[in-house]
């Protein structure tokens, strides 16, 4: 973690601690009030608690050019980014992919090329229907099981390191309940009054980002559920893909794909409207590429469903699987990882609150 970022975050937080006007916006300010020393663990914790709602920036009487130069969302975003990169395993991947949209795009291209190559190289599954004819179920499993497990392993390691670094202790059910309700309702993006955050139109409060995020989160969860159900059907009920429209995988997958596609497009649009200086400008490209990747995964999946019977099948399948592969592999090293750190910070916040 860079000393400059920590020093600057500490400087700004100490001004906030003497002011406290923003106390009603989010969990960060009450947590600041309860913090005695602003050392590295507490700064990392506070930075990950911040949801970048930006309320405290537009409400601040000390933003630049004022000599106190407060930009709390900005400095906390820097601090947060540095912690994600520091706790990424292996660390170099975190540093590369958080920052570089290009690296993310390259990985997608490589993934898609790999799929094309495999489709052409391997025979496929002869008497299977749909895309298994091009790429056998076995091949897919061979690729995606490691692509699924490796990131999980990395995530578990990062989470444990992070939790230890912010001095997290044993969890109680009440902490978990508190943290999950706060996380799922995006309470920290509500502005304290429920009218949302300041993002796409300066100081105007709006629920746009909250809604877009809900769409992405629910969409992603439904897609994930669809895949899980399909796996169960495949192995335990001898019922492999493709599925009818009225089947569990499709009933989860199609609405999920649409929500994820619309939500990610909306998030990307909102991001182009927001002031990059109130986040970490260094990772703007990486974050944008990641949102686009979410959009591509869902949209290509939908197209695969619609155009699966045409001659485009091979190209679509390769592209879709390439995107999914990149998304899986990149989970520990892109914005995707924020969910884990946020929930951990909210858990820690719940612990600290229950003590006072």
């Amino acid at each position: 973690m860079s000393i400059d970022t920590s020093l600057e975050a500490k400087r700004q937080i100490e001004i906030c601690n003497a002011c406290r006007y923003c106390e009603g916006y989010c969990s960060v300010f009450p947590a600041i009030n309860n913090t005695k020393v602003f050392d590295k663990p507490s700064l990392t914790f506070l930075a990950n608690l911040c949801h970048n709602c930006r309320g405290c920036y537009y409400a601040c009487q000390f933003t630049p050019p004022h000599e106190f130069a407060i930009n709390l969302p900005g400095i906390l975003a820097e601090q947060r980014q540095e912690s994600w990169q520091e706790f990424a395993w292996p660390r170099g991947f975190g540093q590369l992919f958080h920052r570089s949209g290009l690296a993310i795009s390259l990985l997608v291209v490589i993934g898609a090329a790999l799929m094309i190559w495999l489709i052409n190289l391997l025979p496929g599954q002869e008497n299977a229907e749909g895309f298994y004819r091009l790429l056998s179920h076995q091949t897919m499993v061979l690729i995606f099981i490691p692509a699924f497990l490796l990131p999980i392993f990395a995530l578990v390691k990062s989470t444990r390191d992070f939790w230890a670094s912010i001095n997290g202790s044993a969890l109680q059910v009440t902490h978990i309940k508190d943290a999950l309700t706060t996380a799922l309702s995006l309470k920290n993006l509500s502005g304290g009054h429920g009218e949302g955050c300041n993002f796409e139109d300066e100081d105007r409060f709006s629920l746009a980002r909250t809604h877009a995020h809900h769409a992405v989160f629910i969409g992603f969860s439904l897609c994930f559920l669809s895949t899980s159900v399909a796996t169960i059907l495949h192995y335990f009920f001898n019922n492999p893909a493709p599925y009818d429209l009225i089947s569990l995988p499709k009933l989860f997958g199609i609405p999920g794909g649409i929500l994820l596609s619309v939500g990610s497009a909306y998030l990307a649009y909102l991001k182009t409207k927001a002031d990059p200086e109130l986040s970490s400008p260094k990772v703007w490209g990486g974050e944008m590429a990641f949102i686009v990747l979410l959009f591509l995964v869902s949209t290509s999946g939908l197209f695969l469903y619609i155009l699966g019977g045409t001659s485009w099948l091979a190209e679509l399948l390769a592209f879709h699987l390439g995107c999914v592969l990149a998304l899986f592999l990149l989970t520990p090293y892109t914005k995707m990882v924020h969910g884990i750190y946020r929930v951990a910070a909210l858990l820690r916040d719940a612990q600290l609150k229950s003590r006072t």
Partner: protein
């Protein structure tokens, strides 16, 4: 600029709380309104940006306020701080209407929060703005713009011309060009004159050059002067300003709330010559907060030093600047550029005069020195446990008292009587109600009540 070619019914001078309430109220009457604001957009909102609450009467419990606070209690609180120097009719008008303001503010976009941590004592009397005064100002600008109010930033009004007891012209400067506008009605809401240091020095004496200004650098009293020069009636002592003791390292302007210091009651305060000059433990700090501005202003170089030891460092709200810290009194004196012998001798004398007793940081504990010329009557504990800490103190001006004399409709008067189309609101007329002293949260209440009145009157005047 194109905006200045248009015809406006009402011009509001100053886009702080009072000006915005006026602009919104006038626009709701159907008037075409233009706000002229001398600051750039980022610094819009004057001193209102620095506020955190307004004082609100309420007969029943009402979010975010606890309990009840009736007109009589409110009025008595006001009388206490002004020593009776208050216009009872106007004061009761403001107090009575403050209750209605809460709903009006919410309807116009302001949001509230429970009283901030460390300010529990105000939770019954003062309603805190969610996000503070700048959030309030932002919300009002949004509301005003939605009502069609136009705003011109970076535009300083230089002159308001009167003829036959009517405003005929408003002169302003935008990007180094002069413009003359001829609205049908005008609301002045451009604050006091505290940021014109020359004027302050003329009024108070040369010492004022060392004062810090807690709020906006844009309240320079230009409109006040222009109108007073044309025989408009004033109220308020022209030589007085409200000043508190703030951290001496604060910026010259706009340091805001975070530069306040709460350490005085637990400290020994000396001047540049290492002499004590007032009882630091006279009363709990919020009550005595306001007199220290004057006390420090009367010292050589207008500076004081509040000295504590490690026993007291955690007893008060942190300030924006870290204290100056040293392991010995000699080193502390050196860091403060004070005489080492002088400081040591004052502290030693003080320490010897301390008596045995129990120390209670949160209430008057009667722990007093005995035998000093100036006793410290509460919280007197020897300064003897290193490390030692010090903060420098300077007078920080909040506002000036001189303003327009208005009636209960916010109308401004000249010697010839009421001016046909001129109203005033906010700090620029607050002297009509606050003759001296200050009651926390009353500035925003005056601005809201009179802003609404002035805007409503100006709006209905043009229709």
């Amino acid at each position: 600029m194109d905006l200045f070619e248009k015809d406006f019914d009402v011009i509001v001078i100053g886009g702080g709380n009072a000006g915005l309430c006026a602009a919104i109220s006038a626009a709701e009457q159907g008037a075409q309104v233009l706000i002229l604001e001398s600051a750039p957009k980022i610094y819009r909102g004057g001193n209102s940006r620095h506020t955190r609450n307004f004082r609100c009467m309420h007969r029943t419990e009402k979010f975010p306020l606890t309990g009840r606070y009736d007109e009589e209690e409110y009025f008595q609180d006001l009388i206490k701080v002004t020593g009776g120097k208050t216009d009872e009719t106007l004061a009761r008008l403001v107090i009575g209407q403050s209750e209605d303001c809460l709903d009006w503010m919410v309807e116009h976009g302001v949001r509230f929060q429970p009283s901030l941590s460390g300010t529990l004592s105000l939770s019954r009397t003062n309603a805190f703005f969610l996000g503070g005064g700048k959030a309030l100002v932002n919300a009002y600008y949004r509301t005003a713009e939605a009502l069609g109010v136009e705003v011109s930033y970076d535009t300083e009004v230089t002159d308001v011309k009167l003829e036959d007891n009517r405003v005929t012209e408003v002169c302003c400067r935008y990007q180094e060009r002069e413009y003359r506008l001829t609205p049908k009605a005008v609301v002045v809401a451009s604050g006091g004159f505290q940021s014109d240091i020359d004027w302050l020095a003329d009024a108070w004496g040369p010492a004022a050059r060392n004062f810090l200004i807690r709020g906006t650098p844009y309240n320079r009293g230009v409109v006040l002067k222009s109108l007073l020069d044309q025989d408009v009636l004033s109220v308020g002592d022209p030589t007085q300003c409200h000043a508190v003791a703030i951290d001496g390292r604060a910026p010259k302007y706009d340091g805001g709330i975070v530069t306040r210091l709460d350490c005085v009651p637990f400290s020994v305060v000396v001047n540049r010559d290492c002499e004590r000059f007032y009882d630091e433990g006279e009363d709990v700090w919020p009550k005595r907060y306001a007199i220290w501005g004057r006390l420090v202003a009367a010292q050589p170089d207008q500076i004081g030093f509040s000295i504590i030891d490690s026993k007291s460092i955690d007893l008060f709200m942190p300030s924006v600047f870290p204290p100056i810290k040293a392991d010995t009194l000699d080193e502390l004196a050196k860091a403060l550029e004070l005489s080492q012998d002088g400081l040591k001798s004052t502290i030693e004398k003080f320490n010897q005069a301390c008596t045995e007793g129990t120390f209670f940081p949160t209430e008057l504990d009667g722990l007093s020195t005995r035998g000093l010329e100036i006793e410290k009557t509460n919280w007197a504990r020897p300064i003897d446990t290193p490390p030692y800490y010090a903060y420098s103190l300077k007078p920080g001006v909040t506002f000036t008292y001189l303003g327009f004399k208005v009636d209960k409709n916010a109308r401004v008067y000249s010697q010839k009587g009421p001016i046909d189309n001129l109203w005033a609101a906010g700090e620029t007329m607050a002297g009509s109600i606050l003759g001296q002293g200050y009651l926390a949260g009353f500035g925003m209440t005056i601005g809201t009540v009179f802003g609404r009145l002035a805007g409503g009157e100006a709006g209905s005047h043009v229709h």
